[in-house]
Subunit: 198 residues, 4 copies
């Protein structure tokens, strides 16, 4: 299987997942359009949050595959496993939009995201350990940095899941901060990226 | 991130949004197919309108990226922000199809389109100001022309939103005219495009 | 706009339309899975029919673009107009699946298909008349053959619409025969294609 | 029709089918999110199962097309026939998720998968028999191995359909084992693949 093929399939899947999220948004048949819109405010926020998170994963997927030069059967299926978790995201997004302060809805959302990061990291660790899959320019130092970037959100998501039992709003704030942390230019991310690209 | 990648992802997303619009169309279980069709006439018109607008944005996105030679992290996320607004379009389209003369439905539709144009222009302004992202053949004159083409619909959408309070049909006419203005060959658009391509 | 771009966007749209058709299929909550399946038999047949028709249009679109070397603004929008009609197909398919013997459902389905063929032919006629868009190897003889292949189904669809008033089953048979005519190898199609490729 | 085109269209369709599966997942409005999630457990499992099966078919499709160098009109339509069956998968998946122990739901699911394998094998047999479509490096030995890999699941699915009358859980176990058999590295698959690639 050529690398280009796997990337094109993954890109398509990320684009479809990002776009499918909007299907969940339906205006209820209430007294006025304005009040109806307010009533689904949490669903709209969940849509925006998940769109940012899915595109964040897409960017991460690309950065990762920049260091992959060949795809073998195992890497292919570890990647498919990660895509399975990504394609599941619209469901916990809808649940969270309907029950934004429910600890179990928060846990479902967090666990799904953790699974994406873990399977992503599994695929990366496998590729990084095999010199015939990752290119020559991948040093152990870079491999560790990329793994750290991929695993760091897991800690945040875990805190969000636990906090959901006591302070649901804190959990939601954490979910929002993770993509913002990777989107808004900051030293930690750009420092790690720069030293991994060098 | 290579420019090709970003374009392929954006193309996929535009194609999916354009196609998802039809999902909203459901024939009610009325007395006759003919009368049922008439009853959802506004939804069908909203579908056609949004399809034209989404493909108009797709064409604009391409014209813009013709002048971009490289994509950095900030441009990538400004583009994702614009795609977020594009992927939201099916929702206000459905609301407008259900409440075609409601001022708030018109405002929601107009605001969504304004957000697409504004984020699009943000991405463009960022790229145009950095010589390492835009190619050498981009003169300040062209940069201004492209910005003007991208921002001009904002004025029309604003008028449509205000007019929605008094004359909803006028608002709908304005929404229809914007894509037609870019589709039907005319001097203003082709003049600006020609002078920007030269 | 490069030709490759337009083809990739069109390919994506055809693939999404073909796949969205299945969303309409929902098993009712009846007494037994077997009887429920029988009760939605017409919807399943409408799904299969429309899938074949959409892929037939995809193949026709490709054959046509083989003779196109460049895309200008007008051809781009004529192509978008044709894609608009294609992206509408899931709706009349659902209506036909729900009311398989209703003359108006048959008319809606037939008119949609006619619009695809007419807009397709408009795009082709425009491209064929401009030597800078179609390549040098396009002779007037081939241009006429392609036009004939694209317009011939219009006659069949018109007969189907009229027959729907008296013999709905005859209409459905005609709808089924059109894609089969292009799929199953036969002299008329292959003769026209061969002489146009020569 | 160029081979690349057919592959890109097929890739897009596989990615969309894999992603559409999640649309079926809706949380019922029950007493608690946790109990509601448990109540749709079978649907979630059906989603995971079908995602693995669709990506398995995608991998098989690629392996097959590695040996195809040119696509003629017949191969194109045999491929489309196979894609028709693939695009149908979300429907039996939803039925199985709703009636996981119903013999008819199991039969519908199994028959759909058998149709994918049979049409896939038809396309392959046609391509393998024509030297102008398959490349020179395809020996009769490899052609037989690929056919065997594509047809072997049919036997398993048939057993699952029959077992569904007596032991529905056994059928489900068989459905799960087929993709796992191709995903988890094992001698039979890798031996066949290795000897076919040599």
């Amino acid at each position: 299987m050529e690398k280009n093929r796997v990337e094109a399939f993954s890109d398509g899947l990320f684009a479809i997942v990002a776009t499918l999220l909007v299907i969940e948004l339906k205006l209820p048949d209430g007294p006025s359009v304005w009040l109806d819109l307010l009533s689904i405010g949490p669903k709209i926020l969940a849509f925006v949050l998940s769109f940012l998170i899915v595109t964040m994963y897409w960017v991460a997927h690309h950065s990762m595959f920049n260091f992959v030069s060949r795809v073998d059967r195992n890497l292919l299926w570890l990647n498919n496993l990660s895509l399975l978790c990504v394609s599941f995201i619209p469901f916990p997004t809808a649940v969270l939009g309907n029950h934004p302060q429910d600890p179990n809805a928060i846990a479902l959302y967090g666990i799904t995201l953790i699974l994406v990061n873990v399977t992503d990291t599994l695929a990366w660790s496998y590729a990084a350990r095999k010199p015939e899959l990752s290119g020559k320019h991948l040093t152990p130092h870079i491999a560790t940095l990329v793994t750290r970037l991929h695993l760091s959100p897991v800690a945040a998501y875990t805190v969000a899941i636990v906090a959901g039992r006591f302070q649901p709003l804190l959990s939601l704030a954490i979910f929002v901060c993770v993509p913002l942390f990777f989107i808004i230019p900051n030293r930690w991310v750009s420092g790690n990226i720069r030293s991994s690209v060098k």
